[in-house]
Subunit: 310 residues, 4 copies
Amino acid sequence: MSMPNAAGSAALSGVIPPVCTPLTPDYQVDVASFVRLLDHLLDGGVDGLFVLGSSSEAAYLTDAQRRVVLETVVGHVAGQVPVLAGVIDMTTPRVLEHVRAAVAAGVSGVVATAPFYTRTHPAEIRLHFRTIAAQGGLPVYAYDLPVSVHTKLGAGLLLELAAEGVLAGVKDSSGDDGGMRAVIMGREAPFSVLTGSEVTVDSALWMGADGVVPGLGNVDPHGYVELYRCASRGDWEAARAEQERLVRLFEIVKVGGTRMGGSSSGLGAFKAALHLRGVIDCPITALPQIPLNHDEIGRIGKLLATAGLL
Amino acid sequence: MSMPNAAGSAALSGVIPPVCTPLTPDYQVDVASFVRLLDHLLDGGVDGLFVLGSSSEAAYLTDAQRRVVLETVVGHVAGQVPVLAGVIDMTTPRVLEHVRAAVAAGVSGVVATAPFYTRTHPAEIRLHFRTIAAQGGLPVYAYDLPVSVHTKLGAGLLLELAAEGVLAGVKDSSGDDGGMRAVIMGREAPFSVLTGSEVTVDSALWMGADGVVPGLGNVDPHGYVELYRCASRGDWEAARAEQERLVRLFEIVKVGGTRMGGSSSGLGAFKAALHLRGVIDCPITALPQIPLNHDEIGRIGKLLATAGLL
Amino acid sequence: MSMPNAAGSAALSGVIPPVCTPLTPDYQVDVASFVRLLDHLLDGGVDGLFVLGSSSEAAYLTDAQRRVVLETVVGHVAGQVPVLAGVIDMTTPRVLEHVRAAVAAGVSGVVATAPFYTRTHPAEIRLHFRTIAAQGGLPVYAYDLPVSVHTKLGAGLLLELAAEGVLAGVKDSSGDDGGMRAVIMGREAPFSVLTGSEVTVDSALWMGADGVVPGLGNVDPHGYVELYRCASRGDWEAARAEQERLVRLFEIVKVGGTRMGGSSSGLGAFKAALHLRGVIDCPITALPQIPLNHDEIGRIGKLLATAGLL
Amino acid sequence: MSMPNAAGSAALSGVIPPVCTPLTPDYQVDVASFVRLLDHLLDGGVDGLFVLGSSSEAAYLTDAQRRVVLETVVGHVAGQVPVLAGVIDMTTPRVLEHVRAAVAAGVSGVVATAPFYTRTHPAEIRLHFRTIAAQGGLPVYAYDLPVSVHTKLGAGLLLELAAEGVLAGVKDSSGDDGGMRAVIMGREAPFSVLTGSEVTVDSALWMGADGVVPGLGNVDPHGYVELYRCASRGDWEAARAEQERLVRLFEIVKVGGTRMGGSSSGLGAFKAALHLRGVIDCPITALPQIPLNHDEIGRIGKLLATAGLL
């Protein structure tokens, strides 16, 4: 169970997948498939939804497409679970535009990275998050993704902004579990620490993380929900066994190999798996991503079968 | 003299400053100041204008603000010189939106980076530029800026896309003059090589570069135009002397030091100098950039005076 | 308990600290202090010792000093526990020299990084480790330390070399626990996975790691031994509590702040703490490291006191 | 003409190739080939020699092999031109060992990088060079090679150490000609600025650089000497033509492609070319470098023929 962060409330927790954005063959948002995906996730028992994150191909969606996503998810979910929205863009003024759209759509919170493309500085990162929090009117979650943003959000900076009330939590996709632990141990009030790593969820929860935002959770939401429930009731052995099954499933993101970028390979795999499982109509990814070929999709099918998902 | 690249035409050449975007104290585009800046540059004798580049704070401007810039520049310049427009965004679909706005405004060409934020690959970079060229209908210039994009555009890739007719040129802000030379020596048809480095323009022209896109050209367009003219008539000694004066002036970008990021320091310095020279009303930079303080602006004033600009 | 890896034997496991190298005020190896440090660690119950690693300042020691370290440790330990020796150098021929010295001294195994300083390639990294294994005659452990080596040893490469019998294990100081888990789950024969991260030992053991090589173990060997014992008997709650105490103690490495490099700050803190605890005579670190000042050492003392170590 | 830097003397200048180290098939220094290579370079008219640099495979040579190189070069050159020696190692104490060996052998100056492998800091880099200068007793040249050292030596730091008399010059292999120009324009006393870039020598000299340390100069010393002489007498057109011929020849370093690291490809090409030109007996490179194959060496032969060198 989880709730949006607010004065006196508990921190957001549980399984909150970054929802893929299915596309039609002509690269428009496939609303019907998207709704089926939302139901697939809700049926899987997820505790929240995170749209317009990196796994959602937010970096590839036009503003109009982002609005379709926001309106569809808020309308369809209708308050069953909290909905977070990514507001990914280069700098504060552009991020604020996305925040306005997210607020207008009625989401529960927004997720923002540090500035990127520009040559930034900790003083600027602080001002960035403070401005977003002051003008947004919604809980703000920091998105720590150095592989994309080329800046690591240090524990000191996060804890400072947490203490100020600027940040309600962090989605930590840095892979630096030592740094994540420093945030967990250093926080003095509810502050959601959500790991973005699909393969170390049991250990993150063990350290005290509140939840997980797993891209692979699109493919197998039941698996992550089961993992989280096992951990919540203290059955860590079962949590680990489930995690290890998911680690093996996560091999699907490597099928694309070196003939394409990591985004193409990872997001392509999630969508191919959702297509093979019958959730979405078309596995296409946005341009300029390289599509997986027939043979690669076949190998993804075998990994799904091994995981008991086909 | 220079002209937009097209079948049978010469490559774009000369001094093409990346035009700063003056802001009002409440962070809106200051159109009156912007028009004065355009006149300042045209009076300086520039051969073209590049709006919505990094020095224009394009990464900080909302789409609406970008449109104001485009419409103002095209309307005011009225064909006196070519106008290039940056279409800086993370991926192909978002870049194409900016291309459409630029085409609608009536610019002469667009300037695009490789994808960023996503984990990209040469095959994806090629597809990115090919798609932009196919759908844009305008000459496309590649913008090589590894400090922001975290990918270096290699000579092989640029020459391949040049040979295909996909790219009309490159703005090389990588600082890798060896790589730039490989492009200059390897091209087999008109292909504009424009250096983005303010401090090695004489040597870039010496190697065969067609022109320069100097952020510092906002502050001292006459200087860069004089440098280019000297080089064009073969008076390399005079070109070097002018370049060395501009190298000393370029110290203004370091005044901000380590208490802010490089964007704040560099763009802040250009705007402070334009304000001190009476060209723009307000030196403010977009959020979350840290403003230069009174003392720092004073030091910029001294450097301007030394360069004979106050 | 642990033993050097060999046919039919168990993998190396437990707590194997990277032993600091105490220096005299004139920068020679302080053998008396080094012997006291070895006793301090053995009394703490460690399962092995790793000399000439990064925490040992191996990068700062001359070959003659390295030999003093090797001879002292092998002579003093006299087979009570396995002794691993770092053979840190830029390339294969230079590493082989260190391997010969280590073999001559009588250590149990060697620890080697990928080539650095040179621009390397996976094919070269494989050849590097194969050559070391073929010529060394001792178990070879890979040292994955991207912050120093600027190459990440991927799970695929490690598992390939493990399957070949080239590598007996890995010291993973990459901080990438997802990658470490892939090695743990992918190995098909005894292959020691040792985490080099001081702050995630409980979770690494939870994932199946065999042991830990903690720099902070110089300061508090009893703590890491207790942590490992708790985990070994399945008392994970107690392991976590001990780990969290050590996380707080690990703050000592940050006391040096931004006025020095991370090596100066971290290694200086370990040595200052060992000096304050009465183990070594002098906290000096090798040149060109910046020494901690009086105030900083005072703050380290307070952190030691909080941890119950003074 | 050039002379070692000393009180009242001119700065070191001209063409100073980083001399390759020929090896026998069993990876020992091939002294006979090395002597032939020295004669090849001296006959080509070079102004100095730089042994034990990166192009010399210094990172791959054992200390004993380095001594063979030092003794051979000093004995054979016998004062005809200055001899600089690289003292490449991770930190100050290890570098000082190499300095002692170089002094004992009788070289004219030493070339040192910033510390690497360790996590360093400008204050440590300053202390590093100051210690080397104080203890070495020979002119010290800084070696700026970020691709290997992962630190860029800024103009401010270099000028500070130049003003102190710590550094006699810099070998700039950073590719950052803007930064190099800042050093050239900022120096207030003789301070040798030597570019390490093979493909921008004419422009570096144009900016005021004193000389060049070209790896490709092993293959074609006459070419670089001709380039330098043309520039020295002010015939820049001829200098550029010669440079452009050498740029085309430099394509040999790319023949190895992506199946090996850049060191293997570049150093392998220099040695293959020297072998094809009959200067050295065996083109082998040190382990773990991947050797060029028959086909690749054939392509190098064609590039040599095109350059008029076969």
